[in-house]
Symmetry: D2
Subunit: 389 residues, 4 copies
């Protein structure tokens, strides 16, 4: 049924490049009713040999080393940005100016000002745009949204409590990798993982009114990585360098609808690998979610008969009622991490064909930046900070 073709140019080819390539390859086989066929056109990166290898492994037609060339290639319909955060704005703005639909990895930008410029650019160009907060399309999260919209939690939300916890640097002897250096990584937990749970909160509960937070670098100095092939050995690896990003951020806040926000992001929680958890409490029920068990949603319905009230342990795999699952497998057969990208890209393809952006748009990305900036300001000023929007 799909006669239209959309050719993608992807800028960047590392971890996110692998996840995005997979999603582009999988989107038509699993969503055969989509109104367009996707072609993996050009993959782009600065290192010619590496990008050519990625092209072959990941299944792209062409490789390129100059992103401007790809952005301006008239045969390309969609620009997909998976490069480091500090390059998002420049590429996205150029892509919008070239009239391309733009899909950009999160966080949208490295500052509010940049994000504002990006929103202005896509608005001016009138192009379809999306920031890749893929966790919105975990079926359990999308179903949580449906339950809330249907009123299953009641007409008031009292609490949104979320945590994104990892443990990969909990050992103080873990070395000073690039992700712990501000000039390369931009920020630590804040932009990397706090951004995700802020987005989930905004998606499920609404806009924030004010925030108050604290950020910390628990381990301020770490062993430098030994120079590769240097033969310097153990003593060299004991030279220490400064960690210049945050290790953890913890904050409280209020949503505009009056709900409490309590969020925390950390890389110092031993045993937590990619532990994204949230609980929402409303006047008629509650929901809880844990990404490490992402095919489940737990729902307490205060309307159940009193004796049998208890969190429903819902396996979110039923394609006849749970979002996105018709595309996948029969009930009881779970999906994994990368499927969240395929679900996201399916909606993006439809949006591109229809010409109407779907959430989360660049504007959502901007709102997210504003919250991140407010928390950071609060952490420095030790004051509550109001959000503008």
């Amino acid at each position: 049924m799909a006669t239209k073709h959309l050719r993608v140019g992807m800028i960047g080819y590392n971890f996110m490049g692998k996840a995005h390539s997979n999603a582009w390859r999988q989107v038509n086989p699993f969503f055969p009713e989509l109104p367009a066929k996707v072609e993996l056109g050009t993959i782009c990166g600065r290192n010619a040999a590496a990008v050519e290898k990625a092209r072959e492994t990941l299944g792209w037609q062409k490789a390129a080393t100059d992103w401007r060339e790809v952005v301006n290639d008239p045969s390309i319909d969609i620009i997909d940005i998976t490069t480091p955060n500090d390059t998002h704005a420049e590429i996205a703005i150029a892509a919008a100016q070239a009239g391309k639909a733009v899909l950009c990895e999160k966080p949208l930008a490295k500052s509010v000002a940049e994000a504002e410029a990006m929103v202005a650019a896509v608005k001016k160009a009138g192009v379809v745009n999306m920031v890749c907060h893929n966790y919105r399309r975990i079926p359990a999260v999308a179903f949580a949204k449906q339950l809330i919209e249907r009123g299953e939690l009641g007409d008031r939300i009292f609490h949104f409590r979320a945590r994104y916890a990892q443990d990969w640097i909990a050992d103080p002897n873990f070395p000073l990798v690039w992700r712990l250096q501000k000039e390369i990584a931009g920020s630590g937990t804040h932009g990397d993982i706090n951004a995700h749970i802020i987005d989930i909160g905004r998606y499920l509960v609404g806009e924030l009114d004010e925030v108050c937070g604290m950020m910390e670098t628990f381990v301020k100095h770490r062993p430098l990585m030994a120079a590769t092939g240097s033969g310097l050995g153990a003593s060299a690896s004991q030279q220490m360098g400064e960690v210049t990003v945050d290790d953890a951020v913890s904050w409280i806040g209020r949503f505009k609808n009056g709900a409490f926000a309590n969020l925390e992001a950390t890389r110092f929680a031993h045993g937590r690998k990619n532990h994204i958890t949230f609980e929402i409490n409303g006047s008629k029920g509650s929901l809880t979610f844990d990404f490490e068990d992402m095919n489940r949603l737990k729902f307490f319905n205060a309307g159940d008969p009193q004796g049998t009230q208890g969190f429903h342990d819902i396996l979110i795999t039923d394609g006849s009622v749970h979002p996105y699952l018709k595309a996948w497998w029969p009930g009881g057969h779970i999906i994994g991490y990368e499927h969240t990208f395929v679900n996201t890209f399916a909606d993006f393809v439809s949006a591109v064909v229809s010409g109407h952006s779907v959430q989360p748009t660049f504007e959502d990305g901007l709102r997210n930046e504003e919250v991140l900036a407010a928390i950071e300001e609060s952490s420095t000023s030790r004051q509550w900070v109001k959000l503008k929007h």
Copy 2:
């Protein structure tokens, strides 16, 4: 409101004696509406010094060494039997003949014939009788019974699957304690723990029609316990003795209502301490239970809206709807193992005052013996065995 007094004579004073004494002490303070006040009259055991010490610790008025004296004491109303299994029949029959209400620890007897004699005795004497299958009065189990009777699982039961798993002898070097010697213990897992899950099955699902099972002694020889004070030391402890009871029993069967039975009891499941689990599947729903988390019952209701179907994780602590809990604490405050005895004894006290036995009666104990005997026969004959009742 309770003006009537009931004086108890308890025969036996070890592990079960501790649990029963506690229940007699607690039954009035926690069930103040009971129609009688219990007095802890006489505790009885063969070792005078030990029983006197138990009397003081456990709070009994008198100590005795001759159970016949206690059974025939006219000031005693209730005989509570917590002695080893091979003495149950003789004491219970004498107590019935003396006109006492009789509460007997499980298993009721060491053979079907003995159990039949006990049932005949209590019937002839017309005395209130009960076998102490305390797990029926775990609130979650009693509530499961209510749900089934209300039809919440539908009009048909398809499966009853249960397991009682422990691990205290999973190490092959664990010594040959008395519980592993048939002449003292009677049987191994079969009478000790399989008896419990058989009782739960009979309580919740109904009578069995036929069974087929296997029993095994996995570790046939174990180190002898060193003789106390012998000075024989390590080499002596390496002398081996024969294990003469079963280590595990596994069996399948059919209930008279057509449901499948699949049960297993073992002391060889590392990590399982007192892991009594069951699952019941009916035409409208399912239930699961785990004793190590005994304040919960999980209930799947096929009548829930499709999208939010999932096992309800019910915390069984709500005194306004869950059985026995009004006696205890506010919702969310859990109870433990010994409370199952207090709940049981509360019902027994009411039964004694009313003159009408409540389940599980000696007749239930007899039915249980018949099932145990049938499984044992099946294990030997390697044939299916039909139950008579």
Copy 3:
């Protein structure tokens, strides 16, 4: 072995009176090695008929209506205070002056000033004193303390995250009971349940350095309770009254050792009955606990071999290694809520005989009040607040 007798006078006889009476009754039977026998001497309350009924049900020797009489009764050794919070200080100070050992329910007082006076009084009198933060002696919590002290979490703690969530007023139509009125209850979630998790944090992690929090009354008006026997009926019950205590409190903070604190207490979390949860992350491992499953502790040991790392799901029922459990049942047989009081009282009895107070002392109660006051100040001033100690 116990020849010494200690006679208790208990002031108050409601919910906590029931729990305390049980603990006084159970402490000797379950801890037979204690150096003293406890006698339930006098129970005291203002309503003579009600206190007499409580005396009979709960097993006390005498009833009284004037607490001063009990405090000054020379035959009484211990004063146990379970009255409303606003009376703690006066009774405790009088008891100390009379030379009694004093056990006081939490929160210790209704202000820091009162708590200071109480600490001064017990110090001056040199009497054994304890504030009844019974959750410290949940075996899983006491074992968590042992693991931390042994260094199993490493030499640094990074995060303490705790929540005390209930749901009994989550329905906005729940009536305006006395606990929601400041003049009777003193405070809402703050003193009632936030106090508990603050105490657990102080016990396991240490003293706090600074805090920043927010408190809220989500539902500001509720239906008035119908006057008893008034015949006013439904329309009267729709008259609304003002809720004058907090519904929820959420706060962040820093411990003196640098760990992050993130705590929340609420009565608006549907499905959470008495959900006290915490997670502690250290440089070598993590712990998690949930009171609704209070016989378990989950422990992640970063020293485990990499492939089999994962939270150990520890059933805390092994009397040979887990605190307090030797007193109770064999492994796998769980205990419940009220056992935490029995464990606490056992340690208090030993303390009284030895003459040396054990934690948590009145000084701990004072520290707790200081934290509560700092959070409340922070919520009003919208500033971070430093703790003095």
Copy 4:
């Protein structure tokens, strides 16, 4: 690095065709180090229009309607059989005779005799062969195998307890679909799902010595499906037809190494969607697994220090130590159902290049058929049945 190309011909294109096509597409992008590149050559089915549509959606080069043509196509290297069970033998034998490597969906055949003929054919032809028991390559299951082989469960296994439970026909009014008709489906739960847990048992524990089982059709008549387009409507749908396959099978047995087997497969367990669970108890530890949470394995290590013993809740997502995961995502990012096929096909591709079959071979498929046949015989004869191998 992969210069060799392997072209696949797949016979069949329904549910399994979708899963297999996906695995063929994904195997090189995710396992780039494989020694050959896979080409999705020809997809084959009887309905020309349907197979052409599948070809386009699933990404195959050619479509065909005659499987013999595909089997004899000299450009095809691998024949992948996903057709109904009753056609496996004929196609696989022809493929072997044509010298192709053969991958066949489970169950291998519809009888032991057929399976024997298939084994003989692949042996005679000397072709690489595999039966697609994909659950062996769930990373958690493959890791369980490694732990057992390393001796982490000890030198003896005592129990293997497994269950495959679904609920799609638990409602007695569910219609008589083709899977419930023996002439089309072959068997019910037995060949469909019991076969899976038998394979897991053989893989992890070893060969069976003897079995004793029961099979049952709980609901013997069901509403007929309305004839398509017939206009017969509701009344017609109430006509009843006979269910001719088993609804459930439950069996006990002994492995040759002395371990107990206790297995059950059912479609009548409300709330269980694809609930494949097992527990293995050995002399040093235990393992448990649940497919609905397939990225976890729980491991009890009796060698842990006593106080902190407890099942380790292992998230099996660490590519540096857990099998197959290096191919996928960073730790904490789970995989789903279809990845088990990709992992399987990766090993098969290597096997084809090396010329040496890897487990599970057709011989494993034959052993599985023998166990199925023995259980069926036991269910009919009501006797224990010995396995020949």
